[in-house]
């Protein structure tokens, strides 16, 4: 069962300097029950993609082309007020990158929850309180936190509280954008545990986890999608991405990761030469050809399509496309 599908989605920022093609022709489908990790360097369009998938498109960002279906409903056609009423928080929730500051500093957590739920349905105060209490217990969060101000909570706890609040109405899909990058490793693990609990208990069905940290994705994601310069270059199971990466960019990304493991010492850290391209004026053909040691003539002028190779791996690279010879 497909929960979310994106077909040829293009979302560009229209700026005075020109058009930034931050998301350029992305095809993606997410099955029910799957946690998908999206990884790539900063500026590759990860955050723009998740905002686009939600329908949260504000100028200068514009959806230029493409269709987004969430559980059969075409959300790319809905307007903001409809999305706010029927989709966000109910069908899909986002925990944004700035979630550590998402709570209202002058309000206790429970009062913040009451304000947030007013938007949706007519819950009475006591209903909201029992809903919140029950959910905090399910997620092993201290119920006392409901009566605290945000500054009284640690960073990790604040992040977990925000996650609990965004999933109070049991959205089918939860999207989290770099939820742990500002936390120390111990708080990070607790946040990941909370996300896992949400999924195991069936509160949410699927999750999209956006990060630049592949070691974190390894712990929580079933599948990983690698983005480069506004494109999805590879999509496969977590094990395939780690042990059998195909796209030269994926290989480079994996080899640049340093974790305290003997395998890393053996394989050495390697780097990808050059820098990601400016999306105001991306390279022709394959956008990675300027940094790729395998670049061929065809890579300079023909864009590689995302094709299936070896079972469930999708890869966009001429090294693996059958039309290699031209």
């Amino acid at each position: 069962m497909i929960l979310l599908s994106a077909e040829n989605v293009r979302a560009y920022y229209f700026l005075p300097q020109g058009v930034v093609k931050a998301v350029d022709g992305i095809n993606l489908s997410l099955e029910k029950g799957i946690t998908l990790g999206l990884a790539g360097e900063s500026g590759c369009g990860k955050s723009t993609l998740v905002n686009t998938l939600l329908g949260s498109i504000k100028p200068p960002l514009r959806l230029v082309e493409g269709k987004i279906l969430l559980d059969g409903k075409e959300i790319s056609k809905m307007n903001i007020s409809k999305l706010k009423k029927d989709v966000w928080g109910v069908e899909v929730s986002l925990v944004p990158q700035s979630a550590l500051n998402a709570l209202m500093p002058t309000k206790k957590v429970i009062d913040f929850i009451k304000d947030a739920l007013v938007q949706h349905k007519k819950f009475s105060d006591s209903e909201i309180l029992s809903l919140a209490k029950k959910r905090f217990e399910e997620l092993n969060l201290d119920v006392k936190a409901l009566y605290m101000f945000p500054h009284e909570l640690s960073g990790g706890m604040r992040q977990r509280v925000v996650i609990a609040i965004s999933t109070l109405l049991n959205p089918k899909l939860l999207i989290v954008d770099e939820p742990t990058s500002a936390l120390d490793v111990s708080s990070q693990k607790q946040v990941l545990r909370t996300l896992l609990d949400l999924k195991k208990s069936g509160i949410i069905q699927s999750m999209i986890f956006v990060t630049h940290d592949i070691a974190v994705l390894r712990q929580i994601a079933d599948k990983i999608g690698i983005m480069y310069a506004g494109k999805l270059v590879e999509l496969s199971s977590t094990d395939n991405i780690l042990y059998n990466p195909k796209h030269p960019y994926t290989v480079g990304l994996i080899n640049a990761i340093v974790t305290p493991e003997p395998e890393v010492k053996r394989r050495k850290i390697m780097s990808i030469p050059g820098q990601p391209p400016n999306l105001l004026n991306p390279p022709s053909g394959c956008r990675f050809h300027t940094r790729c040691k395998f670049a061929m003539d065809i890579c300079l002028h023909k864009e590689p399509p995302l094709l299936e190779v070896e079972g469930d791996t999708l890869v966009a690279c001429h090294l693996f496309s059958s039309s290699k010879g031209g």
Binding site: L242, T259, M270, G274, Q275
Partner: protein, 266 residues
């Protein structure tokens, strides 16, 4: 062959804060370790663990509250004459986290390179030629960086210029405080390679200060884990990761996400 270069004995730093109600904060407590020539020793810890304070004491930027620092067998703890400090800084050199902070934004980057000649005894060197050679050593094109202002260079280029200073001075010990935390993964590898080259060519030792356990594990000969101002664990990277003895290191090991191992229960 290697010999003892730096020895730090029971180094302690207590900061006193507050005007009326004075409060004492122990930033570093009884830290002792040795650095041999040609070795990478890393201090690993989270923010507030005292690793930067330790670095500043070794660099003689702040005075320890108690404890001693010996460099090449000499007690340098009380060094305070400008001539003596200059001499010391030509042998012990610092590289810091934010290369922006080491540059004056209003002056061209050339200045940080030419300043170095104030520390060098031989005043007859061809300065322009030496600077150009040092820049080439660190993989920079002199034409591209000389005459530029700091904001015109990328973070990686700025960090490389700081390493180029090391090639000019050829210090015996480099104290590198989070030298790669501000730059992306691909450039990171380059800077680490440059420090390794210095070690191989000139037997330079490096005290590598980082919060990144993976990086410390990768580069070090010896690793010291700091927590709340104290060294709680020390040993070769493999010893520390395979058989951690302190509770803190055990927790760190259990909580750090690894690439080739999955957490239990996940």
């Amino acid at each position: 062959m290697s010999w003892l270069l730096l020895s730090v004995d029971n180094l302690t730093k207590i900061f006193t804060v507050g005007l009326l109600r004075k409060k004492e904060i122990v930033a570093v407590r009884d830290v002792s370790f040795q650095v041999d020539s040609g070795k990478f020793v890393s201090l690993v810890g989270e923010s507030g663990s005292g690793k930067t304070t330790t670095a500043k004491m070794i660099l003689k930027l702040i005075q320890p509250t108690s404890g001693k620092i010996f460099f090449e067998g000499k007690d340098v703890t009380m060094l305070n004459k400008y001539q003596d400090l200059k001499e010391y800084w030509s042998k012990v050199h610092g590289i810091f986290q934010d290369p922006y902070a080491s540059f004056n934004p209003l002056q061209k980057v050339d200045r940080v390179l030419y300043q170095v000649f104030g520390l060098i005894k031989d005043q007859n060197v061809d300065r322009d030629k030496t600077v150009r050679e040092a820049l080439k050593e660190v993989g920079l094109n002199p034409e591209e960086v000389l005459g530029k202002y700091p904001h015109e260079l990328s973070g990686g280029q700025r960090q490389r210029i700081m390493v180029a200073r090391c090639y000019l001075i050829k210090p015996k010990l480099i104290v590198a405080d989070e030298p790669v935390s501000m730059i992306d993964a691909s450039t990171r590898e380059g800077v680490i390679q440059l420090l390794s080259n210095l070690r191989d060519e000139y037997k330079t030792s490096v005290i590598f200060i980082t919060h990144d356990l993976g990086l410390a594990y990768y580069v070090s000969d010896e690793m010291l884990i700091m927590y709340k101002g104290q060294v709680v664990e020390r040993g070769s990277p493999d010893e520390v990761m395979d058989h951690p003895s302190s509770e803190y290191t055990k927790r760190l090991k259990a909580d750090i996400p690894l690439l080739y191992r999955k957490w239990e229960g996940f």
